[in-house]
Symmetry: C2
Subunit: 612 residues, 2 copies
């Protein structure tokens, strides 16, 4: 027995007890002939007191930071109690100790505020993981997984493992592949998700499936992407969209309660994709705050479907607005008093290459006498105060607000306005880390136009069903786009999917859909994506086959587990919630992987290097 | 809402209720103007009754096997109750129904006793998974995972995910590798186990870790091997071997209770590896029955360490025995009356190439008058009755027993005797599927001699610690084997490991060890296995580095999850307990994977095919 108690366990109630602890030396403080040391383990920190006699032993065998020590002694009441830690009332009066293992001086301090940079901490990740702040992240991750399993188990979902060595069917992201030694010249692929397998399980009758599982995508890594990531993957049979939304809104609320002790009692808000794009400029709005976008250009169109929301620019002659595809206004509360320096800084902000705007127009809405509001703007030359007032009012501005206006090409301007809204929300403290707002975004387009190939791609994935009322449109029309310039008018551009994303604080944490479950419709979908019959059969013959033997109606959802944990932990970085993450080049710098392999291995796998 | 109830839910108590069910048509029986159909889902089977009016609709739209149907109707008491199913007291008097999806005629019957062969069932695995017998297996698998998680969570183990894209460090089995597109010419490897990561987590202070995770080994497949398999992987810090044995014996007992409702109250039996080899001829004895092996050759040696167990052949002159390295006797209870035909058949059995013996000697122990036993044997010419009696008695034979004796080269004979013992145990009904006997096998040799390379290989893995009393032997001696002929005498041949296997009914279900946690000893181990310092640093530098920063004493175990489930399910085949298994060529015949990939993919990965 290496220990009788952990370092987080002992209290004044155990006073007088003989105990043995084991852990790491966090710090050592010498006062004359006695020495105090903090001993740390996963559960906490306990103070050790080495009296005069043992001090001589310490002189011979000094305890360094991160030494692994086993110490026996008596639980004693402390003179200087430490109210900040649970064991702060006691210390252990040490009678004997053993150094179980020494430690070199760590390359950075094992503390929440460490002096170690990112690269160093990743190289010595096993030391970084000792820091309390990182441990809390992994504990939260474990708690989320436990809560998810608990909810799903209680709701009769079955955890079923699906294979990792599958078949490469690239559509969308790139597959990681695995050469097969036993089948020379052939390759397995690692799953981008268990999508087709969970659908097969529905065909097999396992009507509620889940799995918390690794998925793999060989994509160029952005800051917050990992080549391997974890999904909470779920599927249900004999359900409509409403059943799925209810079930998984319940799961997320259960996780909130279990992990954050938050009673999220109100129903999760819902918004169509079109409203999200129109009012927030993106498909994952952060609804912790308002500041919705106002499209003030007449005849603004989005996918040719949305009505004009205003005619506010009629009769004005500001060329920048009149020539722009889109003009978007945002009312920022309480910022009418911004100085010239502040508005200049904001203008510079929107001109940065990441945002890419030409400039920023503002209207200051200042409370005047008798409750009137005066409007001053950076374009006073072109607009009279009445026109400015109309725009500001339409944007929802009140006295004391600042209206910011962007103009330019439609897509870029919408994106810039979305970013500007988030930035101002951040600056004004509207994006609180401890406030959680869920949102279902629904009714996504089924297809997206791929300019390069002049064809349709699946917005979600090729297994997503159209809205029931749009199935006939899909069946009746030829998917081929004969005139690329008029793709917006193609009937396929108007087909909506039975798909839904769950958004938390402006981040997509889950997404899913009702699936196609009829062979003919699935074949039509593959054809719409430009697959020949042969290609569809080669890639997805097993699924098309399965649909012939009594496939039930089904649908599901997958949650990004890493991201969900990060947001619940109040962080934007998923890396902080992964025990052994990879860097932005897909490397594990601790392992130094990937690495070259032996010629013998290459030879056995019937492959050669071909590095250009 | 597709259904109000499942097909396993309704009872007589719901009589009169209007319900909607959805599921698959198991069978249809027409009686004059009414039709009965069995509707099946994951939860059970409910009988549907279609009256006269609906029968006309059925004539137009006949229900075939495996059609997916939604049916509304009234719960009604059945005339002919079926006591064999929980819903057998009721049927649903159908008022309307919808065919949600049709089904082609399945290639085999969806029943426990199916007419489908192995290959057909694997190709249509999604239909095979519909069979109740397969569903029960996957349900058991889920129950085992749930029970394991429950126990480990309650005992403060933390589920921590370790990476799948790691570094290739082949030692023992072959790695599956994954070419890295972003790092041309370099490869990730898929983990054979999370071994080094869980050790790093111990260094990081997460003193109780577990994970139920996939592992990968690119080995030539034997009947019961899969290229991807699942482990319950566990590790603990500040523990000695005894702590680990107690903890995981607790886990397996918890699983027994939760899954099989078995109270396994007695302590798990323990046996040294040497005793297992001596008494059972293998390292995973099935102790549900006795029939232990008796080595009757004088001066029999095993690893030069075991004492002679008898001098039973002294003074006899049967050349077959006297010339053999080993002579082993087994007393088979109650088989003294075996006919010539039966003993001939047994002789043929041991002569099969898989067993490879030259012949079989028997002694029949027949009860005579006055309680005496007479001994008759197939080698009466060479042994008198007193000698036969001595051998039979030493083997534990009683009146009515049959003693079987094998002779030959040591290793082969021991293996043959082990197989013969299991075969006779099977034939005599001693290996009951519903009886479960656990056993810890301990004190394995640390090293095994690899003849081909004239070097030591790690019997468990290179991270296993020697017994504390053997550490000095390892440090003090040069691992190089200067005289291959005398490897048995090398000090390393006598070093025992702090390792243990858990054996269930003659199958190894788990194995683990106390680990090395000091850099110097780990370096000595790598050197003993023939690794140069550079190679050791290249492959395991991260682990050696971690051991410099305060590594705690630690150890762990990994359970073969697939096999554990199979044995609990009373089967020897792990394939029956995997949703989507691969065949013996590592192929998924349903997916038709592995498969060739595009030239574009190869090109992006900087590799070329090199098939000879």
């Amino acid at each position: 027995m290496y220990r009788t108690h952990t370092c987080g366990e002992l209290r004044i109630a155990q006073q007088g007890q003989e105990v043995t602890l084991a852990g790491w030396i966090q710090s050592v403080r010498k006062f004359g002939s006695i020495t105090f040391a903090d001993l740390r383990d996963r559960y906490g920190i306990t103070q050790l007191l080495f009296g005069e006699e043992l001090n001589q032993q310490l002189d011979q065998q000094p305890l360094g930071r991160e030494f692994v020590v086993q110490a026996k002694g008596t639980v004693t009441e402390r003179t200087n109690k430490n109210p900040n830690i649970p064991t702060g009332d006691i210390e252990i009066n040490i009678t004997s100790f053993t150094v179980l293992n020494k430690s070199a001086v760590p390359p950075f301090t094992i503390q929440d505020e460490t002096d170690g940079g990112d690269d160093l901490r990743m190289k010595y990740r096993y030391l970084d993981l000792r820091r309390n702040i990182v441990k809390k992240n992994l504990e939260l991750r474990f708690a989320v997984a436990k809560a998810a399993r608990e909810y799903l188990n209680n709701n009769h979902f079955m955890d079923i493992e699906t294979p990792f060595l599958i078949k490469s069917t690239p559509e969308g992201a790139r597959d990681f592949v695995v050469p097969s030694r036993m089948n020379p010249g052939q390759f397995y692929a690692l799953p981008q998700s268990p999508q087709t397998f969970k659908q097969l399980l529905m065909v097999s009758g396992y009507d509620r499936y889940y799995q918390i599982t690794k998925c793999f995508r060989d994509e160029d890594l952005r800051a917050d992407r990992q080549p391997e990531f974890t999904q909470i993957d779920c599927e249900m049979s004999f359900v409509e969209q409403e059943d799925i939304l209810n079930m998984f809104e319940g799961m997320v609320k259960h996780i909130f309660k279990a992990v954050k002790n938050i009673d999220y009692t109100e129903p999760v808000a819902r918004m169509t994709w079109e409203d999200a794009m129109w009012q927030y400029g993106n498909d994952k709005p952060d609804i912790r705050f308002g500041m919705q976008l106002l499209n003030i250009k007449s005849a603004f169109t989005l996918n040719n479907e949305l009505p004009a929301k205003g005619q506010l620019l009629e009769g004005t002659d500001f060329k920048v607005f009149n020539d722009a595809e889109t003009v978007i206004a945002i009312a920022v509360p309480g910022c009418a008093e911004y100085t010239r320096k502040q508005t200049d800084e904001l203008t510079d902000w929107v001109k940065r290459p990441q945002i890419g705007m030409q400039g920023l127009v503002y209207i200051k809405c200042t409370a005047g006498e008798n409750g009137a509001i005066s409007y001053k703007s950076s374009v006073d030359k072109f607009f009279n105060e009445q026109q400015l007032g109309a725009i500001a009012t339409a944007a929802g501005a009140k006295a004391g607000d600042l209206v910011l206006i962007l103009a330019g090409r439609e897509e870029r301007t919408r994106k810039a306005a979305s970013e500007l809204r988030l930035e101002m929300g951040e600056r004004l403290g509207f994006r609180k880390k401890d406030e959680f707002k869920l949102l279902w975004v629904m009714d996504f387009p089924l297809f997206e136009y791929a300019e390069d190939d002049n064809r349709w791609v699946a917005r979600h994935h090729p297994f997503t069903a159209p809205k029931p009322s749009h199935i006939q449109t899909m069946i009746d029309n030829d998917p081929v786009i004969h005139d690329a310039a008029k793709y917006l008018e193609h009937p396929y551009n108007h087909i909506k999917a039975n798909a839904y994303d769950m958004v938390l604080n402006g981040n997509e944490i889950g997404g899913g859909s009702i699936r196609i479950f009829q062979r003919e419709l699935q074949e039509k979908m593959f054809a719409a994506l430009g697959m020949s019959k042969e290609e569809a059969l080669h890639k997805f013959g097993f699924l098309l086959g399965a649909f012939e033997y009594g496939a039930p109606p089904h649908g599901g959802i997958a949650f990004g587990f890493d991201r969900t944990c990060a947001i619940l932990g109040g962080s934007e970085s998923i890396r902080d919630f992964i025990a052994f993450p990879k860097n932005n080049s897909g490397r594990d710098v601790m392992l130094d992987a990937p690495a070259s392999i032996d010629d013998k291995q290459l030879d056995e796998l019937s492959i050669k290097l071909d590095v250009k």
